[in-house]
């Protein structure tokens, strides 16, 4: 972490959604969350599935206004959409009617870059994510891993200061996933963007991040623990899992995460029984 201002500061964030019907209570997804992301820092947020991790990312992205609390970007209060942040979604977010190249060029065109320049830069980024020659393909004609690469290029081509990633690789098979994780680390170490990486996979969290934040089970999710991952870089996600340092961290974090996962599991069971 550099000594300057944080890339992102979430203070006292609470998100409450109105009741879906008369019989249900309003739902509080996250409550009183303080979370900061240093400039150039890679922070992984782990927690049980459905605990409101994505809600936090949406608040940081400016897509969802928090019911309470404040968001600061490099010291400035965030208003509206966070245009300096790139967001990589868990679900398919490419425009299906645009080719891979047009998808990558899309953001630049929206921001007023001339078409030709946008296409050239898109092509360069496709090459960078290993998709040279696939520019004319439509998303339907690409594999899951390739689509993720296009999505990554679509976000990175805009040179965001902050990257928000919501379980971006969870739909991929394990080999493709590790490959993508290594590539992400390579690209990240080139220019050290600040990254919020949400995942429910602890292995992924430890292998990628500088810091792992454990969230409680939902509703009213909040951080329950914060671990510094002092494994030296560059890292290789396929090798790192065997190092004793990694195993030790995994054991310590899992001890806390397990309780939350169990709570969330029990709640799920009782809800389905009711």
């Amino acid at each position: 972490m550099s000594g300057g201002v944080n890339a992102l500061d979430l203070r006292g964030i609470t998100c409450t959604f109105p009741a879906a019907s008369k019989d249900t209570e309003p739902y509080t997804a996250v409550r009183d969350v303080d979370l900061s992301l240093g400039d150039g820092e890679f922070v992984a947020i782990v927690g049980p599935t459905g605990c409101g991790k994505s809600t936090l990312l949406n608040v940081a992205a400016g897509l969802l206004p928090a019911s309470k609390g404040s968001v600061r970007m490099f010291g400035e209060p965030l208003k509206g959409i966070n245009s300096r942040a790139g967001y990589m979604f868990q679900a398919e977010a490419l425009l299906p009617w645009l080719t891979a190249r047009s998808n990558v060029a899309f953001g630049m065109e929206l921001r007023g870059t001339p078409k030709r320049e946008a296409a050239e830069r898109a092509e360069a980024w496709l090459e960078r994510v290993g998709l040279a020659g696939f520019g004319e393909r439509y998303p339907k004609q690409l594999s899951g891993g390739m689509k993720k690469r296009v999505a990554l290029a679509q976000v990175l081509v805009l040179e965001p200061k902050i990257l928000l990633m919501d379980e971006p690789f969870s739909a991929l098979d394990i080999q493709t996933r590790q490959l993508m994780e290594n590539e992400l680390l390579d690209m990240w170490s080139a220019d050290r963007k600040s990254v919020f990486f949400v995942t429910h996979d602890l292995e992924e969290a430890i292998s990628l991040a500088d810091r792992v934040v454990v969230m409680s089970s939902g509703p009213a999710t909040h951080p329950v623990a914060d671990f510094v991952v002092d494994i030296p870089r560059p890292r290789d996600v396929t090798e790192i899992v065997q190092s004793p340092h990694y195993l030790d961290l995994h054991r310590r974090i899992w001890a806390i995460l397990k309780d939350e996962v169990l709570k969330s599991y029990e709640r799920g069971k009782s809800m389905s029984a009711a």
Binding site: L63, W97, P139
Partner: protein
Amino acid sequence: MPKRSIVWLSRFSIIVVLLIAWQIAIEHSRIAAFFLGSPVVIADKLVDWISTGVIFRHLGITLLETLLSFVIGCGLALILGLWLALNDTFAAVFDPFIKGLNSMPRLIMAPIFAVWFGLGIWSKVALGVTLVFFVVFFNVFQGIREVSPVLLANARMLGASRQQLVRRVYIPSALSWVFSSLHLSVGLAFVGAVIGEYLGSSAGVGYLILEAEGTFDIETVIAGVVLLTACALILDYLISIIETSLLKWQAK
């Protein structure tokens, strides 16, 4: 997959057998001859229409009405569909009116359109528009309502303004639904044109049929029907080609 040659040969045989049976029936029964007409005379009539070129004026008018119905119907549906789908209040207000108009038997509007727009092409176009409009409208509405929220969130994060969202996300999504219902909407435009002509006109294939019916000229009526069927098939084929190129991103 069955062999193509066998399929085509069988299809051809069915037509030949039916035509022969038809010819035999009318040669043995005057009643059959009166009600069915002679296939030979019908074929003659078609050849005569085409060789003299009489038919092209009528066919041209029918197709022009079809095209205008389709374009105007689609345009109105796109504008109104977009407007209502993006505005919950208007959608709620207009919902019963649209449902009501849609469930009304609209062919019965033909005489009213004849009064309003006269016997020229515009009364037929009006009828076609009422038929095309609702198909396209519901598709546009659906297309816009079903845009994935993730897609929208992504476009917003990439920097899309409200206007850019409409132009670059909502409209393409709505159009993809419209394109996938082209067969139905063009077919209905064609039906509107022909029915409109049949109910009162001075030109068009529907008019030819109407005129022949008045003199119990069953052969001309059937020749007209055959011609319309052939046209509909060709239109359908052309749409399939257009569809493949417009929707190539949907192909695996």
